[in-house]
């Protein structure tokens, strides 16, 4: 049971202004450090408009939520943003229960992000 068994794949792609961190797999106490590292890396590179895409995430718990809140804290001093892409009801429910839906802008689809940007 080595670290490579972590069931989380991360790929970051630039969509206009935004750096979209696309996750696939499960975010829990074992895998969340990978997400934390990726956010830290992007912020260190000067990316302050982050969006975490949860569409292909099968599981997310409070450790993952903590990493997202931590990410927001990192970009805020740079006038940045941290958004979420998520249309899965089971996950939206957790954002609602915790009140985090009021902290993170939540987009139903990456296209929404593109439109929003075009509209600005």
């Amino acid at each position: 049971m080595e670290k490579q068994d972590v069931d989380l794949r991360i790929e970051s792609v630039k969509v206009n202004d935004y750096m979209v961190i696309v996750l696939e797999g499960e975010v829990d106490v074992y895998s969340a450090p990978l997400l934390r590292e990726e956010i830290t890396r992007q912020v260190a590179r000067g990316e302050y408009k982050l969006v975490v895409d949860l569409e292909k995430v099968a599981f997310l718990d409070s450790t993952g939520l903590g990493v997202l809140v931590g990410g927001l804290k990192r970009v805020k001093p740079h006038d940045g943003e941290l958004g979420i892409i998520c249309s899965q009801e089971k996950m939206l429910r957790i954002f609602r229960i915790t009140g985090l839906d009021k902290i993170f802008p939540i987009f139903g689809h990456v296209d929404e992000l593109k439109r929003r940007q075009a509209g600005e």
Binding site: D28, V29, S62, K73, K90, I97, T98, G99
Partner: protein, 146 residues
């Protein structure tokens, strides 16, 4: 033919983050065999992860010593109870916050989340006593009981 409570299923794992997914898998299998619906299984996957994560993270693994945690499942007629026990330092239950605290601190969502996803919640802990968290979840919605 089966007795209503055929006995607990017990799991003992090293207090290491990599085992939380195994606990989720087992929880899912047990809940499914009890005919829990998908939504409730999703809830239970979060609940068991929070319970195990707390036991593992706060378990105080000393240099070279790997603590172990115990997970017990008690299948009921229309419910599933789960208990997670660690031999860590324990804590003052007064420390448990709410979601607002969590948002401010960027942590502390665990226990509030467990509470909001289960029907019964019981916490046994205290300094130097270890911690046992026990929950019960019905396979139907509270509202449907009325």
């Amino acid at each position: 033919m089966n007795p209503p409570n055929i006995g607990a299923i017990e799991l003992e794992i090293p207090a290491s983050p990599q085992y939380v997914s195994l606990a989720r898998l087992i929880t899912t299998a047990i809940a499914r065999s009890l005919d829990f619906g998908d939504d409730k299984i999703d809830d239970l996957k979060i609940v068991i992860s929070e319970m195990c994560t707390n036991a593992i993270i706060h378990c105080d693994n000393r240099e070279g010593v790997l603590n172990r945690i115990k997970v017990r499942y008690f299948p009921g007629e229309r419910d599933l109870s789960i208990e997670v026990e660690d031999e860590g330092p324990g804590f003052d239950p007064e420390c448990v916050g709410n979601f607002e605290d969590g948002i401010a601190a960027g942590k502390g969502f665990g226990i509030p989340l467990i509470k909001s996803l289960v029907d019964e919640f019981e916490l046994n802990t205290g300094p130097n006593c270890g911690t046992t968290v026990r929950i019960k979840k019905y396979d139907f919605d509270e509202g449907d009981r009325a």
